[in-house]
């Protein structure tokens, strides 16, 4: 099993989610994160003093999938999350050794 972790721009979430469900994905876990990267933050002036906003709001999506689904899922993400502008984000793929569904104690592929 693989874990696909995508960092995307927040306003793309709904589109990506729809693409993923179309790609046959039934579940995912999402969280709000702050990103630092080539897309630089911005400088604000508060009461005359400058301050840097270094971290930009991003969304992290984690999707556990069977190995055969990885390409399809990555494509779905890239297909929808890409705007072509700096800061679109990354996709990371890593390995999961086992997966359990808490409710049924099903394992691995059946747990998804």
């Amino acid at each position: 099993m693989k874990m696909i972790t995508a960092i995307i721009k927040p306003f793309k979430l709904d589109e990506v989610r729809e693409a993923l469900t179309e790609a046959g994905i039934d579940g995912m876990t999402v969280s709000e994160v702050k990103g630092y990267g080539r897309q630089k933050g911005h400088t604000e002036i508060y009461r005359g003093a400058e301050y840097a906003v270094n971290f930009l709001p991003k969304i992290k999506i984690e999707i556990a999938v069977t190995a055969d689904m990885v390409d399809k899922v990555v494509d779905a993400i890239i297909g929808t999350a890409k705007t072509g502008q700096i800061g679109d984000g990354k996709v990371f793929v890593s390995n999961i050794e086992s997966t359990i569904r808490i409710r049924t104690e099903e394992k691995d592929a059946e747990a998804l």
Binding site: E44, I45, Y46, R47, G48, A49, E50, Y51
Partner: protein, 440 residues
């Protein structure tokens, strides 16, 4: 009060003198009518104090909200605690000694201060004078509390609760009443004809000086200035609270300035109160717009906190004399207040004076400006006397409030530990987060 009461007859002018004359002439035959009129005046004057008083009381909530919005969320419960407590302390101290220090027998002490005794109130049926004694106490008390509210904002996020409240007790029981006595207690500044209608100097500058000495003696918040002295912005946690607080203060200011006419029983007084309302609103509006426009020109955008501070600076500026200016003059006076915010907030910050809410430009500097501007529209005032008043109040308040801050610093201590400051005073001293559920 004596002075202000005197003043009110002055304002009443011709109309009042005329009707007073009628009273005397007609008194043998229409004594009942005259009594009724007197009683009605008494009621209306009292009513002005009560309405003005509750509006100014409401300003305590305005300061609380404004300050709660300007601090970081880890210090919000503390800031709320300080604000409810300082209003309570002021209310008790101004009864215990404050009122009488300010108003009772000041002349007997050379015009410097009154008596250190609690304020007593006559039985309602025996209440003589032009207004109810308790209504006057209430109105003066809320002014005193305002002075303390000014301090709490500047020194927010880095002073311990109880030492702060001890400072407030001294400020509201003794310091504010003493300089107040010089003018409103018919003391020596009043004899010199110093003019300060509703307290640009007596309230706002006093609060501002006490805040400034506090900010310097306590020092800046941890992290406010970088290792190389660079200024670091620390954004407030909640801009709607700052906005709400400012609207509350604006509303309360109609009581602050309008009520300072001290009488509403005659045509001239009612008309004066009305003109004060109008000028107060125009000055505040002008303060908002001048701050916003200068802000846009200098920085290319509008900082909400400057717009809000601009309103307050306009209000403080007009407070020394809200009655004599024409509408256009009121707009001019308020505008300068607004400009001062945009200029002086960064300047004070660069001097490494950490004023969390901008009370020093808003209350102290705009207060000085307002006081010095009185002679522009009021021929009873002179620049020299105004400067003497500003200077004397400054000298006294700087020295005495520094002393109190320093004594507290070297006895009970003023600051929480750095660790406590970093974790936030809410956790360190209040044990209660303001927004425990929201991830920060």
């Amino acid at each position: 009060m004596l002075d202000k009461i005197t003043k009110k007859y002055a304002y009443g002018g011709a109309a009042l003198l005329a009707s007073a004359a009628v009273v005397l002439v007609a008194s043998t035959e229409t004594s009942f009518a005259a009594d009724t009129a007197t009683e009605t005046k008494y009621v209306l004057n009292t009513l002005l104090f009560l309405i003005g008083g509750f509006l100014v009381m409401w300003m305590a909530a305005g300061f609380a909200m404004l300050e709660a919005g300007m601090v970081r969320s880890k210090n919000v419960s503390m800031q709320c605690t300080k604000n409810i407590a300082l209003y309570a302390v002021a209310g008790l101290m101004f009864w215990l000694v404050g009122y009488n220090v300010m108003y009772d027998g000041v002349a007997a002490n050379g015009g410097w201060f009154g008596s250190f005794t609690p304020k007593s109130i006559p039985e309602p049926a025996k209440d003589a004078g032009d207004y109810a004694a308790a209504s006057d106490w209430f109105f003066q008390m809320v002014f005193c509390a305002t002075t303390a509210s000014i301090v709490s904002g500047t020194v927010a996020e880095r002073v311990k609760l109880w030492p702060f409240l001890i400072f407030v007790a001294v400020l509201t029981g003794i310091l504010y009443p003493i300089t107040g006595a010089w003018k409103w207690g018919a003391g020596w500044l009043q004899d010199m004809k110093f003019q300060d209608f509703a307290g640009s100097t007596l309230v706002h500058s006093v609060g501002g000086w006490a805040a400034l000495t506090g900010a310097i003696i306590i020092g800046a918040r941890h992290g406010k200035y970088g290792p190389n002295g660079e200024v670091r912005a620390i954004p407030g946690s909640n801009m709607t609270l700052v906005t709400l607080g400012t609207f509350i203060l604006w509303l309360g200011w109609f009581g602050f300035n309008g009520g300072s006419q001290l009488a509403m029983g005659s045509l001239a007084d009612a008309s004066s109160v009305s003109k004060i309302f109008m000028n107060t609103n125009l000055a505040a509006a002008a303060g908002v717009m001048s701050a916003m426009i200068l802000n846009q020109l200098l920085y290319g955008k509008v900082d909400l906190t400057f717009a809000l501070n601009g309103a307050l600076a306009g209000l403080v500026a007009i407070t020394a004399e809200p009655l004599t200016p024409s509408p256009l003059a009121a707009i001019a006076i308020g505008s300068v207040g607004g400009l001062m915010v945009v200029f002086f907030v960064p300047l004070i910050d660069n001097l490494k004076i950490d004023d969390v809410v901008g009370a020093i430009p808003v209350h102290l500097l705009a207060g000085i400006w307002g006081t010095m501007a009185v002679p522009l529209t009021n021929s009873d005032a002179s620049f020299v006397t105004q400067a003497i008043g500003v200077g004397a109040v400054a000298a006294f308040t700087i020295v005495t409030s520094s002393l109190v801050w320093l004594i507290l610093k070297y006895t009970v201590g003023l600051r929480p530990t750095q660790e406590e400051e970093i974790m936030g005073l809410d956790q360190a001293e209040i044990g209660l987060e303001a927004y425990p559920e929201f991830q920060k």
